[in-house]
Symmetry: C3
Subunit: 290 residues, 3 copies
Amino acid sequence: MDKTLLSPIVAGMWRMAEWNLDVPARVRWIEQALELGIHTFDHADIYGDHAVETLFGEALKASPSLRAYLRIVTKCGIRLKSTQRGVAVQHYDTSPAYVRAQVEASLRKLHVDQLDLVLIHRPDYLMDAEMLAGTFAALTNEGKVAHWGVSNHTTSQFELLQAHHPLVTNQIELSPLHLDALDDGTLDQAQRLGLRPMIWSPLGGGRLFTGEDETAVRVRDVMQPMAERLGVSLATLAYAWMLRHPSRPHPITGSGRIDGLRDAVAALDVPLSTEDWYAIWTASTGHPVP
Amino acid sequence: MDKTLLSPIVAGMWRMAEWNLDVPARVRWIEQALELGIHTFDHADIYGDHAVETLFGEALKASPSLRAYLRIVTKCGIRLKSTQRGVAVQHYDTSPAYVRAQVEASLRKLHVDQLDLVLIHRPDYLMDAEMLAGTFAALTNEGKVAHWGVSNHTTSQFELLQAHHPLVTNQIELSPLHLDALDDGTLDQAQRLGLRPMIWSPLGGGRLFTGEDETAVRVRDVMQPMAERLGVSLATLAYAWMLRHPSRPHPITGSGRIDGLRDAVAALDVPLSTEDWYAIWTASTGHPVP
Amino acid sequence: MDKTLLSPIVAGMWRMAEWNLDVPARVRWIEQALELGIHTFDHADIYGDHAVETLFGEALKASPSLRAYLRIVTKCGIRLKSTQRGVAVQHYDTSPAYVRAQVEASLRKLHVDQLDLVLIHRPDYLMDAEMLAGTFAALTNEGKVAHWGVSNHTTSQFELLQAHHPLVTNQIELSPLHLDALDDGTLDQAQRLGLRPMIWSPLGGGRLFTGEDETAVRVRDVMQPMAERLGVSLATLAYAWMLRHPSRPHPITGSGRIDGLRDAVAALDVPLSTEDWYAIWTASTGHPVP
């Protein structure tokens, strides 16, 4: 894959439906992200109860020249529980027919001819890797999708699908409040394969700022003075902690505020020391390294 | 390996000693299994306190023409605690001498010239993979064993032995009441290597029907009406749930009733939907997919 | 690597600072180890609060002819909390500059021209494998280090670094009181790659002899009569239990008493039976094998 497929910081569109922006405001929002060097936008078919891709696509339709400047990531594979859609039990679906249908729906809703990167949103126990890879190849050949990846996959699930089709990333959760990927081999695998992970909830879904649980308080008590010492915001420090990892992760923002994007971009210039990185790890785990 | 080495459903002989069948009844039982398309019979040296292979072998001796129609799987490697055999502490043994002795005993007891598939019953911490592979090769060359595999092995134990000798399967536990293999990489590895797993206790050892624990009740409450809707028995639905997995598992029956075999075979024609599969998973875990 | 790089038993220098030996006594201690066939000495930059390498090096300086007969293993990568060194939060550091600095300091303190084996002491979440491998290659080319390895690394961490530079061992904890490495894939990987592990705390840090917890008592109750039956000490039996593993581990002693080394070396001649090995495992886990 083109090493610059994804911008260092990726704008997460997850909550766009809550931002209540009219079409011109959406266009302006995208432009401001681009001005900050954020050219990649992270979607999923289901975001905003299936509404976000449409909202974003309306902006692209209103300002078609934007398309050339941005990269679109989206996901499919989750069937949300929905009376309207006739889904009684939330489940995953990576059947060829469903993946194709969702990709084609995303193209229509986003008003684009090609998706730059499509991820399987969650590991489907019923994924037939060979069959799914066939669908990847077909949609790639048709020009509908440029690259493929996964999200929330374990190392063995990743290895299984990767054996049948090249994957470019595993989008996973990581934050000072959620350290699993450091220990379960996910980031080792990413670094070994040279495949930069995408990171969701790099700020712990806001818990970093307002969480009252013991861990959140302990982490904030360490990070707040550290941020002040470094002259950056708490959010910027959290992004810097993430960016310090040698797998070279792409954090995904969640905020609708342009200042939220600025906090993330600012982290690209914060050279966090190893000791500071471990001080945050230590606060999160509640014990020093062995 | 011959892709049809094992029949889709495998008859488990574990409890044959409890069935109290005389020799003609045993012959008839085997014939009925064959008539249902079940040509593979799963043994272990220790089943029935070392009695089952002998019971089965007596039937083969009484009706030698049967041999050509069936495939025999057996296992070795467990030394049961036994005053008679001088074993004070139950343990595993995969030494060349022991594996050879058990294979040769199985051949004698079963009255056959070759075992179609022999499995190492449990992962032996003291397994010397290179040495054990040497024994596999020798017994293969002597025509005593056609194929080798393992049972209850983790992915790394499988990978270790597989590096020294081709293995054709990992026989593992899986059922709506026992989901570990879905998450620990075992089934990912099986699918990646194209090696169909064999499944023991696909009905949770009967707990599916009569278990009074919270999980069993919850699973039954979902599966019973689903079975009625699909017009199949609860057992058939459980087998269908298993067969739906893309690793193409071979469930092993446990029943001595021919109707028990019919329940399993019937599942081959039940096209379980993805949503139904996940409804059972959801009932078992007690929460929807993330 | 030279298959005899490490002697079967390795002398651990961890506590040398507590032994209160003057220089001639240190020389004599080393000579006695060599007379027992123990030619490998295990160090780390931080042992004895950074004092042990110096103590050992003073002996080598006093008796320079010893160097040709022994192999030196040391480790780096941990930055202990230390007011003196300006480390407020204990952490790991595998940056090129730090690894180089520590290797060069070890050479100076030990009064040797080359370290036979250097291990990364703990898995550093911030390890950039490619960059670290570059440092390994440079220090190897300069003749300062002959071989590289790691300690306390998971299988995926090992695989990551191994993909960039050959590693010869993973030094891990294992004892009748600490069984993790048997189940987490570490020893499977070692055997698969033919890389003999080094074992720290093979006696459970003394807990085997004096621990009053339920597990220690249970293990001792099984091992004490077994040792008497075999005519060896409890320590020798623990070493024999370790040496029985097919990955062919190198246990590291901890004692300053020469009799402590003799206990370990004696184990090389104790052919522990499989059943005895599992009796100890069973006592440790508190249940028989499945």
